[in-house]
Every structure is written in C-alpha cells, then in structure tokens.
Amino acid sequence: MKKPHVIIIGAGFTGAATAHDLALRGLDVTVVERGALVSGTSGRTHGLLHCGGRYCVKDQESAIECIEENLILRKIVPQVIEPNGGLFVALDESDVEYSKGWLEGCEACEIPYKPLTPQQTLEIEPYINPDLKIAYEVPDGTFDPLRIAMAFAATAKSNGAKFKLYTEVTELVIDNSGRVTGLKVWDRVTDERSELYADMVVNATGAWAGMIAEMAGANVPVIPTPGVMVAYDERFVNRAINRLCKPSDGDIVLPQRRMVVVGTTSFEVDDMDYIPVIEDQVELMLDRGSALIPGIRDVKERGVYMATRPLIGSGLTGRSAARTFKCFDHKESDGIDGFVTITGGKATTLRRMAEKTSDIVCQKLDIEMECKTAETPLISYRQYHAL
C-alpha cells in the first residue's frame, strides 16, 4: 500500500517534531515553511527547558507536561541542552509568601526541589542578588532553539521526511466534499508557484494558526501574545534563574553561551508578521533582570527581540491563559476533513504536542502505529544538512 502523504505547514518546533513523529511511524511527510527553519516564534523562544515550576500553582496540567517532557528531552537530545538546573529565588517577603503555594504545587506535580539558604545559593551562583531570602533548586535547563529543531528535523529527514523551506502556502485546496486535499504554494527561492497533494494537512503554524485555518474557512481561537527578550553580554550564571513569584514580566534570567537573556513581557497583537521592539519593555527587562542579578546593569546589551507566543483563547488572556496546547480536528469543529491544527503549548512540550497531533493524524488515516519518540534518541542536528 502506498504510504499516506502528510503535509505539515510550518517548520517551527511543533512542525519539526511532528514531522519526526510521523516519519518515525512510517508516513510520507513533507514540511512546508514560508521562512527559514524556526524563523517565527520557535527560534525566538527564551530557551528555558521548564521543570514546570513556573506553572505549578495556576496551571498544573502544563506543569506536569513540562516536568515529564523535560526529562524526556534530556535523554533524547542532550546535544543541545545545558542541563545545569535552575533556581527559584525569593527576593522579598511577598516572594516568600508565594513560596508556600508554590511548594504545594511542586509536590502536586512531582517536581523535585531542594531548598537553599542565601549562603548556599551564593556559593553556587555568586552573581545572584545577595539580598535573596531563600532559593529552591529545580531541574530546569536551557536549550539552543535552532539546534533542537534541527535535531528533530534531521531525524525526520533520516526517516524520509522532506523539508521545503521558503515555501509559502497561498491557498488550501478543498474538494467538493469539503475535504482539504492539498495546498498551493509559492516557492520563494525560485519564485515559482505549484500545487502539492496530501492525504492530510497539519497546520502547525503556532501563532499564525488562525490565518491558515481561515484559508479553509475554519476557526482556531489562538491569541498571538508577544513578549520581549533582552540578551546581555556576560554569562553570570550556569542555571536558569526564576523569580519565585506569580509569573510576571522579566522574572526569568537564562544563561546562553556567553550571555544571559532576560524575559519576558506579555501583550496582545493582531498583526504578528512583524512585532516592533518596545523600548519601555527593554528598560523593564533591565530593571527586573538586575533585581535578580545586579551585574546585568554593568554589561552591554547584546540583542533584543520579540517572540509571539500562541495562546489558546478560552476567555482568559495573557498570563492567566493556560500554556497548554490543543489539537483541533477540523472535521469535528468545522466539518472540514483532512485538516488538523496544532497550536498553543510551549517549547518544552514540543515532543508531546507532536505525539498528540500524530495520534490524531494516524487515527484519522486509520493507521495503528505507536508513538516512539519518547524512547528514540535524535541524531546529530548537523545531519540536517547532510540528508
């Protein structure tokens, strides 16, 4: 029997991971991406491999996903991860107050933690604000955004998946029965237009998922929610440093190569193709970041960027909205067959989003194949260019 052909729109984290998952299950996979690999939200992610601590108070579903996926990614793609752990740092009394609920959340979500006195904290991370009250060590990590996607894509390619970059979807092809049977694309490398046929189309365009769904007349309640990230020119810490407080602006500082990156903010936009940098927010990052690590004030800014999270609309917005993901079978929601949308979620849960999506795709295609991505180590990200 001919292998079913699945086209994935978007080569972000979800697209690359879904390509890997489906290719591993033996399907014929093509990924189309209008830009470069992870040139949208994924590439601009903060790079925090969450342990779930950030969500364990308000959004335990996300928190549990995080700690589980965290441990899986450490095993399957250690080549791009700094597994140095993280700290949740309480700087004032209100942080200490918050820690009670936080500890309960950690227990509930089975996130391991270890309390550290200020002195113990400064011994392992001497550049943290010495006025801290208490800190908890957790299994956070950091990862390289481009390379984690390359590792998934490389492994997908090694199993036969194809990646068509700089190829923009201009139209979804829908037959008389209302089924999506393919798409029309514009190859921006050659400036040529063509049509691709698929047994199933997966819309993995994250914050742009609503726009692609609209092409099929379907509706996806995704709220593009950008935030700012600022990189500073010194690696002050080896661990991910979180402020022990209700998730808010600029409360995470991550090491990356010889930098630290402070993030982030949260606001809503309509046009997400270009988000201008808002200078007040850059200022805010410096304020908030230097509260955790005072030395940030003394080093140069190295880069500033905006990343647009895809939040699932549920009446709640911004920080209150759940950070979990959702997979839409448009047969059920809009009566459109052959078309699935995956959006929401976060970088740490990319593999699980792919698993869920691939399960639905396989179920729709009547294929019985188990997901094997949790046990399958990824090949070297550099092989992305060899295959």
Partner: protein, 244 residues
C-alpha cells in the same frame, strides 16, 4: 536619541532561481539604535514578501543571520544600524561569500556543518573546556560539572571572510579547524591526524580575517595556530615513540 528616525536606503542582493542576481534598493525609516536584522525583517514584512533571509534566535546564539554588510561579515541580529550606515545613508546587504547562494540573502552552509561534524566538534561542553579569557567565569566550585553550549555558533562568517576559502572549497576552514582544536582536548579521537593535511591546518595563510569577523569569541585564527603547534608536537612525540 530614542525618538530619532533616519531614512536609510538598504541595498539588498537579490537572486531567484537561475536568474541573474541584482541589487534592489529599499528606502525605509529606521531608528539608528535598531538592529539590522529588524530592518531586513521589516522589508520582508512590509515591502517585499519575496525576500528570503535566514534568521532564528535574534540574539546571536543560533548563527543563522550572518550576512555581508557593506562588504564585511556581520551577525545582523546584534549589529546596530547606526554602526553600519554609510555617509550617504545606505547600507549594502549581501549573502555570505564562499557558499552557494540559495536565494537572496540565504546561502547553503551544509559543508560547514558537515566539516564541524567530521572533526568531532562538541556542541555542548563543560564550562571549563572553553574558558573565558577575560570577564567573569560563572559559578564557583566544581565548574567542570556545568555544561554549556560551545562558543561556535556555526554562522559561517569566518568562512566568508577567509581568503583561502574563496578558491578552495575543500579547505576545512576556520570554523572546523577551531572545532578540531576543541575536539583535540580528547586525545584519542585522531583529529590531529585528520587536520594534518593540505586541506587542513596547513592551508591557512594567517590573514586572521576569521578572528576579525567572529561574533562569538572563538578566534578561529588563534585556534588554528594552537592546533598547528599541537600537530607538530604530536609528530615529534610520535618519532620518539616509534624509536622505542
């Protein structure tokens, strides 16, 4: 300063398929304190959707957005516009040299990645393996336990700047040789033999342009010289070994 706006002409290299390449001018208002990649992205977003360029992290950790700006290699995500605008208000943006051009500002850096792979460069290392020359080494105590991403971000700018790479596509190149230096910290992997050849460590002609354009503290030129000394020392040692 922050309210200042400059009218800048971006002279962008364009190439589609097998058509002849040309330069296209885009005039745009920018803030001098913006990063160049922002402007390139805005040209795509608001002026010409056919423009192709590679980018991902926007803060110099991924290495995707290296381009030639006024003839010199720059990582555009950390290059301020005010630092590269000519006196007549133009900025010329071209793809990196010494790689096949895919389209517009996108080049195919496959060879670079394969070369880095072939010498066994490690993308993540212990923090003590690539020590800081100056500045602050993070953390204290058992630093060897900490893992960090290696300095090299595989941006290809050193290859673009290298005068040897302009004619010798088989040359391993500065990034891979610096990677080999890192890999040679493990004495048993045979990398010293691998680079001791005409396409390896001896092909360099000490122009040090690689170190000049490297945005990520690798100093490939210096690493090549360190590697040469290591290869020579290894050769001398092996003479004595074979005599025993």
């Amino acid at each position: 300063m922050s309210n200042q706006v400059w009218m800048v002409t971006f002279r962008i290299f364009r190439k589609k398929g097998n058509l002849k390449p040309y330069f296209e001018d885009f005039q745009m208002e920018v803030k001098p304190g913006e990063y160049l990649l922002e402007a390139v992205e805005r040209i795509w977003a608001f002026k010409d959707r056919s423009l192709t360029f590679a980018h991902a992290c926007h803060h110099s950790t991924c290495g995707a957005c290296g381009m030639r700006v006024n003839g010199k290699e720059k990582l555009t995500c950390i290059t301020l516009i005010k630092d590269v605008v000519d006196d007549d208000g133009t900025v010329k943006v071209e793809p990196l040299r010494n790689f096949p051009v895919v389209s517009d500002l996108v080049v195919d850096m496959g060879n670079l990645f394969l070369n880095l792979e072939s010498v066994g460069h490690h993308p993540v290392i212990s923090v003590v393996e690539e020590p800081y020359q100056d500045g602050i080494a993070a953390g204290k105590g058992s630093e060897a336990d900490y893992i960090r991403l290696s300095d090299c971000i595989e941006c290809g700018m050193c290859i673009s700047a290298c005068p040897v790479a302009t004619t010798t596509s088989t040359y391993l190149g500065p990034a891979a040789l610096a990677g080999a230096m890192q890999a040679s910290l493990n004495p048993d992997n045979g990398v010293l033999k691998l680079v001791d050849c005409a396409d390896g460590v001896w092909r360099c002609h000490s122009a040090y342009e690689c170190s000049e354009v490297c945005p990520s503290y690798v100093e490939p030129g210096r690493k090549i010289m360190q590697l040469r000394r290591k290869v020579m020392a290894e050769r001398i040692k092996s003479i004595f070994r074979s005599n025993n």
